[in-house]
C-alpha cells in the first residue's frame, strides 16, 4: 500500500516539476509581457499545487503525518497566484507596455475608449 502512494507522490512531484519547467520555457520563448505572464501564472500555479499535493500524500501515507499546512498552502496558492498574475498584467497594461506586434485584438482598449467617450 505504501509503495503505491510513494509512486503516486513521485508521479505528482515529477509532473509538477515538468509543469514548472514548461512555464520557464514559456517565459523565455514567448514574445511579450502578457503571453509570458499567461505562461508563468497558470503553469507554475498548477505545478506548485502538484508538488505540494505529492508532498502531502507522501507524508500522510508513508510517515502517517497529516499536514494541514500543506493543504492550506495548496488552497492559498490556488487563490492568490492568479490574482498576482492579473495585477502584474494590469499594471503593465496601464503603464503602457506594448503588446506583441502580431496581436489582433485589444478589448480593454476599446472598453477604456468607450468609458472616456461616455464621460
Amino acid at each position: 500500500m505504501n509503495e503505491i502512494f510513494k509512486i503516486i507522490a513521485m508521479i505528482l512531484i515529477i509532473l509538477g516539476t515538468l509543469l514548472s519547467l514548461v512555464s520557464t520555457f514559456g517565459i523565455i520563448r514567448l514574445p511579450d509581457v502578457y503571453t509570458r505572464n499567461h505562461a508563468a501564472s497558470k503553469a507554475t500555479t498548477l505545478g506548485i499545487m502538484f508538488i505540494l499535493l505529492g508532498t502531502f500524500l507522501y507524508f500522510h501515507y508513508v510517515h502517517g503525518h497529516f499536514d494541514t499546512r500543506v493543504l492550506l498552502g495548496i488552497f492559498f496558492i490556488f487563490l492568490t497566484s492568479p490574482v498576482a498574475g492579473h495585477l502584474l498584467s494590469r499594471s503593465a497594461y496601464h503603464s503602457g507596455v506594448k503588446m506583441w506586434d502580431q496581436s489582433v485584438e485589444d478589448d480593454l482598449k476599446n472598453a477604456k475608449d468607450k468609458v472616456y467617450i461616455s464621460k
Binding site: R69, F75, F76, L79, T80, H86, L87, V115
Partner: protein, 139 residues
C-alpha cells in the same frame, strides 16, 4: 481609473487565512518552528495586505488600534512575566509549567513562556505597523 475589485475581494479571504496561520504558528512555537516573532511579522503582513488593497483611513476604521500603545502593552506583558518570578522567591525569568484539564482541549500543557512570547508578538506587530504607517502617510 481605480478599479481594484479583484484584489479587494481576494484580500477579504486571504487576510483571514494569514491571520489564522499566524496565530497557529504563534501558539505552536514551543513544539514546532515559529513563535512570537514570526507570528507577529505574519500578522502585520496581513494588515499590510489590507493596507495595499484599501487605503490608510479605511484600515484605521476597520482596526482602530494605536500601534504605539501595542508596543507598550507588549513590553509591559514581557516585563511583568519576567518580574512575576520574583513573587515566588526564584530568580528572574524563571518560567513554570503544568498540565491542566481544559474543557474542550483536554490535557494541555500551559507554560508561562507563552506570556513572554505574547509580549514579543505584540511588540513585533506594533513596531512593524508603526514603521509602515509612518512611512505610508506622507502628508
Amino acid at each position: 481609473m481605480k478599479n481594484d475589485l479583484i484584489l479587494q475581494t481576494i484580500t477579504k479571504v486571504a487576510v483571514f487565512i494569514i491571520l489564522l496561520f499566524s496565530i497557529s504558528i504563534f501558539l505552536g512555537g514551543h513544539y514546532s518552528p515559529g513563535g512570537g516573532f514570526v507570528g507577529g511579522l505574519m500578522t502585520s503582513a496581513a494588515i499590510v495586505l489590507l493596507l495595499l488593497a484599501y487605503d490608510l483611513k479605511t484600515v484605521a476604521n476597520i482596526l482602530p488600534v494605536d500601534y504605539k500603545l501595542v508596543i507598550g502593552a507588549g513590553l509591559l506583558i514581557a516585563a511583568l512575566t519576567v518580574a512575576g518570578a520574583m513573587l515566588f522567591n526564584v530568580p528572574m525569568m524563571t518560567h513554570a509549567y503544568n498540565y491542566f484539564d481544559l474543557p474542550i482541549l483536554g490535557k494541555t500543557s500551559l507554560h508561562t513562556a507563552v506570556l513572554f512570547d505574547l509580549g514579543v508578538y505584540l511588540v513585533v506587530v506594533g513596531v512593524t505597523m508603526t514603521i509602515i504607517q509612518t512611512i505610508g502617510e506622507d502628508e
